[in-house]
């Protein structure tokens, strides 16, 4: 990095730090925990606190809900290094994301990569401003890992598509305004062709949803039904029958997001020491001690690997199928973490009351079991690694 750029970056850092200090309300500087800590935006947005609203609006006005998007799309057009500085400074004070949005993290990249300029200008700014709550419609009942086996059909009716079928695992479809879907536009084509990427308004006639209750007790997902739903043809993203490319692109993208092992309030050893106690200067449960140490070593090694992958990418090595590695290993580690927490936390962690907070660890534990299923199962990731990294043959 040249000295001149370094000066700019240093200036950007101190500006950012000052702005955050002045504008991020104190209550927005702790990790999100319950549903109420998230702001999702949407046509009829719900703020759970005045601070939440304030924080969102200030960030939105800076273009910092989507810092790297261009200004005409509602972003701030930050460079990679500026974006890194912003993330670092936010992390330093524990600032929350002002807006949680599948629009930003999933539809956004799809539109940026495959959408027309009209679509970008139409959809991206309202995503950036938190005015539209998008959900994702990929999976179908019975499809599971075989995503490309989807059956929801979109029939060409001249000026519109007629959509019929059913999606499952649509996150918050009962709250969302719109859904981006994979639909089959050619029934006679081979499995991976004949799929298109379509945007559908959830208010359209014929769309209905049913929440799915999970073993964790919460219902973040729905089944979503399409019964003769008319969708304008301009809602097609990319080329008809080539939607699978967009899906693959997004899956890789999603995988690398899921793969991060989330930071917790307490490290596992702190948690174990607090819950189990120290005897003769070692953790009183000698088996837990070993498992905890092993997990923490793996966590550090995993984080170094993320760091290394970024450094290698900077140095010009493409990440390739590595997102499958991160997805697989990161989700398996998160499951192991919660397995350990259930063991460390003892009787208190077994309680399961009416509210999420009353049974938080047990509920979160249950939730982690989905980590290695959603976004491509661990088995699918291992298949990908084996095929695309190791080059092992198909049968």
């Amino acid at each position: 990095m040249s000295t001149a750029t370094q000066v700019n970056i240093d200036a950007f850092r101190s500006e950012t730090r000052e702005w955050l200090e002045a504008n991020c309300p104190q209550s927005m500087r702790s990790p999100v925990k319950t549903f109420k800590d998230y702001f999702w935006g949407g046509r009829n947005p719900t703020f759970h606190s005045e601070d939440q609203k304030l924080w969102f609006e200030r960030m939105r006005d800076k273009g910092w809900t989507v810092p790297r998007w261009n200004k005409e799309y509602g972003g701030a057009g930050l460079s990679k290094s500026e974006y890194k500085v912003l993330k670092e400074e936010m992390a330093k004070i524990g600032a929350r994301s002002p807006l949680f949005s599948f629009g930003i993290h999933m539809l956004g990249p799809a539109l940026l990569g495959f959408g027309s300029e009209e679509q970008k200008l139409q959809y991206l700014p309202e995503i950036a401003r938190g005015e539209m709550w998008w959900c994702q419609g990929y999976s179908e009942p019975g499809a599971g890992s075989d995503l490309a086996g989807l059956q929801t059909s979109a029939e060409d009716k001249g000026d519109h598509y007629l959509v019929n079928g059913q999606k499952v695992w649509t996150s918050y479809a009962d709250y969302a305004d719109k859904i981006f879907c994979l639909v089959r536009t050619d029934k006679n084509a081979p499995k991976h062709t004949g799929i298109s990427f379509l945007l559908i308004d959830m208010k359209s006639e014929g769309v209905s949803t049913r929440p799915i209750k999970l073993i964790s007790g919460s219902s973040p997902f729905c089944e979503t039904f399409f019964d003769n739903v008319k969708v304008p043809k301009e809602n097609l993203v990319g080329v008809e029958n080539e939607g699978w490319n967009i899906a693959k692109y997004l899956l890789t993208h999603e995988r690398s997001m899921i793969g991060n092992v989330a930071k917790m309030d307490k490290t596992l050893d702190e948690y174990a020491i607090e819950s189990i106690g120290i005897e003769d200067s070692v953790l009183a449960d000698p088996v837990n001690r070993i498992k905890t140490a092993q997990w923490l070593i793996d966590e550090a090694a995993f984080n170094f690997t993320l760091e290394r992958a970024l450094d290698e990418a900077k140095a010009g090595s493409p990440p390739g199928a590595k997102s499958s590695f991160f997805k697989y290993y990161g989700t398996e580690m998160n499951k192991r973490r919660y397995e350990l927490m259930m063991s460390t936390g003892g009787f208190d962690n077994l309680v399961w009351g009416e509210e999420y907070e009353d049974g938080k660890t047990a509920r979160d534990f249950c939730r982690t079991k989905a980590n290695s299923i959603e976004g491509g199962t661990s088995e699918v990731q291992l298949n990908i690694i084996s095929k695309h990294i190791l080059g092992l043959p198909k049968k």
Partner: protein, 367 residues
């Protein structure tokens, strides 16, 4: 002794299976949960179990029991594990019943065991105070026949009529009988992730009605009774584990992906086959340990820790693999497999988890 069931034991097992399938399948637990049942178990089902003599199965005939042995009781636990049936079997019969039957006087047995056999009163043993299984710690004190202190994780404490409470006195650890409805006793019910119940029970100068053994016998009483209970609980866990496994194998055969049954994928096959092997080991430990209770074997503590450790470990493995192999469906509350996952974690923590017993086994062997 041959590691197979006798004909009588086999018959008992079959009746238990039929009974639980007919009267208390997994859907019954779901119903108890969803209707927020005040008892947390089905009284009618329990009454029928009492009528069949199961509450008195292991107790002497003179107190109204069937003197059929723990290997038999283990079969009932096993079958109730398959259906995840909630009942006072563990709290009243296995835990309290064993304490009284093994260490009580004949008057006490006449008084309590016959009530257990007839299903007249429910019991709970209160012996945990820390958040992690620590059965030898009691800050609860007995002074002048008054008991004060706080107990955690008292299984079925909310429905108990009588508490057996570990408490310290000048003579050491003892086991005391306290009226659950008496003055100075406060019970707070906690519903757990497996939809069963444990209570926090506080005693504030509660009257001691009776004492099992001598004031310093507590450690002996608790150690042996918990070992027996650990083995019985392992039998129940084995039932749950086998049921979760056989449901998973059935699902692997039925579920199709990429045009084939997912059970044809070799990596899943090998993981399933490995689980089969581990379950075989668990089965052997459970029957060996149950027989050891009935034979009054002197290595019961070893066997109990080996069994609870291994069964705990494999219950965890099998319940995790079950959810992973079911995939998204397994994550939904509509599907029953999740109930097995939740029950697995509670039974793991009950009476000492894998960590506790692996360590204890090493300690028992002096290393």
């Amino acid at each position: 002794m041959a590691l197979v069931l006798s004909e009588e034991q086999q018959m008992l097992k079959s009746s238990a299976k039929e009974f639980f399938n007919g009267n208390a399948p997994v859907s019954a637990l779901r119903r108890l949960r969803d209707e927020k049942n005040a008892d947390g178990y089905d009284k009618r089902v329990w009454e029928e179990m009492v009528q069949m003599g199961w509450s008195g199965l292991v107790f002497p005939e003179e107190y109204g029991g069937l003197q059929f042995g723990y290997t038999g009781l283990g079969q009932i636990m096993y079958e109730s594990g398959k259906t995840l049936t909630a009942s006072p079997l563990m709290s009243t019969v296995v835990l309290a019943g064993t304490v009284i039957n093994e260490f009580g006087s004949s008057e006490q047995k006449q008084k309590y065991i016959s009530d257990i056999c007839e299903g007249k009163r429910l019991f709970a043993v209160a012996f945990e105070e820390k958040n992690i299984h620590s059965p030898h710690i009691a800050n609860t004190k007995v002074v002048d026949n008054k008991l004060s202190g706080s107990k955690k994780f008292v299984l079925d404490g909310h429905i108990a009529d009588v508490f057996l409470v570990t408490a310290s006195s000048d003579s050491g650890l003892g086991v005391y009988v306290v009226d659950a409805k008496g003055a100075g006793v406060h019970v707070e019910r906690h519903i757990m992730m497996d939809s069963r119940n444990a209570s926090t029970v506080t005693f504030d100068n509660a009257s001691v009605l009776d004492m099992i053994g001598l004031p310093g016998d507590g450690k002996t009483i608790i150690d042996r009774s918990l070992d027996i209970a650990r083995i019985c609980l392992s039998a129940e866990m084995l039932g749950s584990m086998e049921e979760a496994f056989s449901r998973t194998v059935a699902y692997l055969k039925e579920r199709k992906q990429f045009g084939v049954s997912i059970g044809s994928f070799q990596s899943l096959q090998h993981r399933a086959a490995h689980m089969y092997c581990e379950i075989e080991l668990c089965k052997s430990l459970v029957i060996k340990s149950l027989q050891a209770i009935d034979q009054n074997a002197d290595n019961l503590a070893h066997l109990a820790s080996m069994t609870k450790a291994k069964v705990g470990q494999i219950t965890e493995l099998v319940s995790n693999e079950a959810i992973q192999m079911y995939g998204g469906i397994g994550m939904t509350d509509d599907e029953e497999i999740g109930f097995f996952l939740k029950r697995a974690r509670v039974s793991q923590q009950t009476l000492g988890d894998y960590n506790y017993h692996l360590d204890k086994y090493a300690v028992l062997n002096n290393y």
